[in-house]
């Protein structure tokens, strides 16, 4: 028995002795102890995984649905004509030596670019990766205080 378990068990015993038998305290406390302290294993974890997976999928679905509405005509046209990765590559200030694994998403690639893009897709680095990392770090710093 660990020190924490011992302390919790001692509190349980003491409160059991001093509490009236008509109070539901003993039962709820024991239930808490059994369920949370002694047994925080698979069923709860499994349920957590299912719900976190669903929440993650739902968030992505909703975000992808909303992005169209958040975009103006020029950005829509740009992404209709070019894949996201190509636009990002241009705007991050890179010359075309392509390295986006999601380069092929969206866009009816302009004929003049098609061969060059096809030759270059599939490398590992990402244009703008440092700025993506900075964004992830900023958000992490804001969120972790709440965990």
């Amino acid at each position: 028995m660990s020190a924490i378990h011992f302390i919790v068990w001692e509190i349980y015993l003491i409160t059991s002795l001093v509490s009236s038998s008509t109070l539901p305290f003993d039962k709820s406390f024991k239930a808490y102890y059994d369920e949370i302290v002694m047994d925080n294993s698979s069923p709860e974890m499994q349920q957590g995984n299912e719900s976190s997976t669903e929440a993650t999928k739902n968030w992505l679905k909703k975000s992808l649905e909303n992005i169209g509405g958040a975009m103006g005509a020029t950005a829509k046209l740009l992404l209709k004509v070019l894949p996201i990765g190509v636009v990002a590559y241009i705007l991050t200030g890179h010359n075309l030596s392509f390295d986006f694994s999601f380069a092929a998403q969206g866009g009816d690639v302009l004929g003049a670019l098609k061969d060059e893009i096809e030759k270059s897709v599939g490398q590992n680095m990402s244009a703008g990766a440092d700025f993506v990392n900075n964004g992830l770090k900023d958000a992490s710093n804001a969120i972790k205080e709440r965990l």
Binding site: N40, M45, G48, N49, E50, S52, T53, A55, T56, K57, N58, W59, L60, S63, L64, I67, A70, M71, G72, A73, T74, A75, L77, L78, V81, I84, G85, V87, A88, I90, L91, T92, G93, N95, L96, F102, Q105, L110, A112, L113, E116, S126, G128, A129, D130, F131, V132, N133, N134, G135, L136, K137, D138, A139, S140, N141, A142, I143, K144, L147
Partner: protein
């Protein structure tokens, strides 16, 4: 942080117990961040510059012409800052949506990953 943001995102998905195709989710997530950054960078330009971009796209430009024109209207610094901001907002939104579904153990695992950012 690791230079490849996909590694960090993979650790986050592991921590929260995401049970489906993680690589696919990461691709979609990054795509979303870039789309927001593109929208923010292009749609906030003066209308005259947006008209010129639309005209340019209609002319089937080659890469050099495209690069020269888009770079002129949207400096790399501007886009990169928009990309950072979009990523921050999307990642924060994602975690805030998932947080209520996490067990204490998953929250601790997630905090450890966020601490490593």
């Amino acid at each position: 942080m690791n230079t490849d943001p996909k590694v960090f995102l993979l650790k986050v998905l592991d921590a929260i117990g995401y049970a489906e195709d993680k690589a696919n989710f990461i691709e979609q997530f990054l795509s979303l961040c870039y789309q927001h950054a593109i929208a923010q960078s292009v749609d906030t330009l003066p209308e005259e510059q947006q008209d010129k971009i639309r005209e340019l796209l209609g002319e089937q430009p080659d890469y050099k012409t495209l690069l020269a024109n888009l770079s002129q209207y949207v400096p790399a610094e501007t886009f990169n800052l928009n990309l950072q901001k979009a990523t921050q907002e999307q990642f924060k939104s994602l975690v805030e949506s998932v947080l209520p579904t996490l067990s204490n153990e998953q929250k601790l695992a997630l905090k450890a990953v966020l601490d490593s950012a």
